[in-house]
């Protein structure tokens, strides 16, 4: 394993310490229990948004703490859900008179730990479960679809709504709505290496790709021979559209997300391909985001997320945001 490490046990603490020092104007980090919150609590009452999850997906979620997005993020160990005391401590620190809204990716560990954390606080609270990954079949009898790169779209738009003083109930409804009109799917060319393991999570041949991969390098829909960017983008976009069923001339946001080991140059190439495919189908890409936002450590690969836009979602996507990883109109 070649990674920048001093002591594997200390990776998370050292990384959080660096994050704090790099962005002192936006966030501060509390240690033991670990959480990241805004350096300055908003002056007026607002719903407080708290997200979190295993580490290794940076900038998700800590990179999205700040004006217009999250109030706090709870980082767990690499790929492991955070512990309930982190959510409790974060809620006690950031609550601001209008309740707590937890944004949780649909993974069993995250759900259980956030539930236990919610049981420990006295404030009104709601939870948005994000499950945008269409690679997994949804069912009421199973854990269901995973929450992946679409999570940041929920965090951005609901964060904006909370910023203008919306109620807990409005924020929860809006978040569920954004989740419902967002779908994602990814493909990986390589595995990733969890630092504590020191070796790749899975074996994959030089000519193979994992279609429908999750954000922990967990296997997806199927293992296939690698294809051209045109072919695999076509497969991904079709899977997403089957789920979203957009109307002719529908306006959408397209987010091409890198998993950590793929150059931006290729991500922009994917954006070009995706846009052309959608244009042929009469779907208009009117908002875009390209980059490494929901990563899987050093995995090579990328995902597409598409959100069907309406006036309200567009307004809250466009609004001012000031976080370590996302900054505009500020």
């Amino acid at each position: 394993m070649k990674k920048f490490v001093n002591n594997v046990e200390e990776i998370l603490t050292e990384s959080l310490s660096g994050f704090q020092k790099a962005h002192p104007d936006i966030i501060k980090v509390h240690f033991a229990p670990d959480f990241i919150c805004r350096v300055k609590k908003p002056a007026s009452d607002k719903v407080s948004l708290i997200s979190g999850g295993g580490s290794g997906h940076e900038p998700l979620h800590g990179g999205f703490v700040g004006h217009g997005m999250l109030d706090a993020a709870c980082p767990g160990q690499v790929f492991s859900a955070p512990t309930p005391d982190q959510m409790e401590a974060a809620a006690n620190e950031v609550h601001n008179g209008k309740g707590i809204l937890f944004i949780v990716k649909n993974y069993s560990g995250d759900i259980m730990n956030f539930e236990m954390g919610a049981d420990m606080i006295d404030f009104d609270h709601e939870t948005i479960l994000v499950n945008d990954d269409v690679a997994v079949e949804d069912s009421t009898f199973t854990t269901g679809r995973r929450g992946v790169a679409g999570t940041m779209i929920v965090e951005k738009t609901v964060g904006s709504l909370a910023e203008i003083g919306a109620s807990l109930e409005e924020c929860k409804l809006f978040g569920d709505h954004v989740n419902n009109v967002t779908a994602s799917m990814g493909v990986a060319f390589t595995s990733c290496t969890v630092p504590a393991a020191g070796k790749p999570t899975f074996e994959i041949g030089a000519e193979e790709m994992e279609f429908g991969v999750g954000i922990h390098g967990e296997p997806g829909r199927k293992r296939e021979k690698i294809k051209t960017a045109n072919e695999l983008t076509n497969d991904i976009i079709n899977s997403i559209l089957e789920d979203l069923k957009p109307d002719k001339n529908e306006e959408i946001l397209m987010h091409v997300n890198g998993f950590g080991g793929t150059p931006l140059m290729e991500l922009y190439l994917l954006f070009d391909v995706g846009q052309k495919i959608l244009e042929k189908k009469g779907i208009n890409v009117v908002r875009s985001l390209v980059g490494n936002y929901t990563t899987s450590l050093d995995m090579a690969g990328a995902s597409f997320s598409i959100t069907k836009l309406d006036e309200k979602i567009t307004q809250h996507w466009d609004s001012a945001v000031h976080t370590a990883a996302l900054r505009w109109k500020i």
């Binding site: 069993s108 236990m116 079949e137 199973t142 999750g214 967990e218």
Partner: protein, 206 residues
């Protein structure tokens, strides 16, 4: 039942888990994401650090404190579930019962809490495929006078439960994302639970 023998059981569990760590990691890499073994080892190490601090406390306090420690240091699904199991067990300890009766009642309560927390039941390819049969057998055997017979039976039930996860599809937890591809793989949480239970049984068999 006292703090000393609870910690002895934990030490035996740690020994067994450490010996089998590569296998557990491989199982998790096949159908999960490979973090399970590190979480289990971190939890055991943190729990064992409490030995001196908890040495004079009653069994229910020891279970509760270990459960809290696991809840706040492990994370992931296994942290939440094992913490829930132990804190659930803490609730049912009674001075009026003998050790086996206590263990049966405590384990039943803990497993019920774990089912609720994980929203899962038997046959979903999770640790519950070990924990539920063990809980039911313990309750059937709670009046058995020969502890060795109980230990041998429980060890067998745990192993059968663990092996049963091989041939089923997962409907809960991370392996559920794999659909049919998870068939043929033993669930890592079931394996670590079975190893832990076997380690305790072996104290009474040998």
């Amino acid at each position: 039942m006292n703090s000393e023998n609870i910690f002895l059981a934990l030490k035996n569990i740690k020994k067994t888990i450490d010996i089998n760590k590569d296998e557990i990691e491989k199982l998790d890499q096949a159908i999960g994401d490979g973090d399970h073994i590190f979480n289990i080892q971190r939890g055991l190490n943190e729990a064992l650090k409490l030995e001196t601090e908890l040495s004079s406390l009653s069994p229910e306090e020891v279970f509760k404190k270990i459960g809290m420690k696991i809840m706040t240091t492990v994370g992931g699904s296994s942290g939440a579930l094992f913490a829930t199991l132990l804190m659930g067990m803490a609730k049912k300890y009674s001075k009026e019962l003998n050790d086996l009766e206590n263990l049966a009642a405590m384990f039943y309560e803990g497993v019920e809490a774990t089912k609720k927390r994980g929203k899962a039941d038997l046959g979903e390819k999770t640790m519950l495929d070990v924990l539920i049969p063990v809980s039911l057998s313990l309750n059937k055997l709670k009046n058995e006078k020969n502890i060795k017979i109980v230990a041998e039976k429980i060890k067998m039930v745990a192993k059968e439960g663990m092996l049963s996860t091989r041939d089923i599809m997962a409907t809960k937890g991370r392996a559920s994302f794999l659909g049919e591809r998870a068939i043929g793989h033993i669930d890592p949480g079931a394996r670590s639970s079975q190893l832990a239970i076997s380690a305790i049984c072996d104290e009474y068999i040998n």
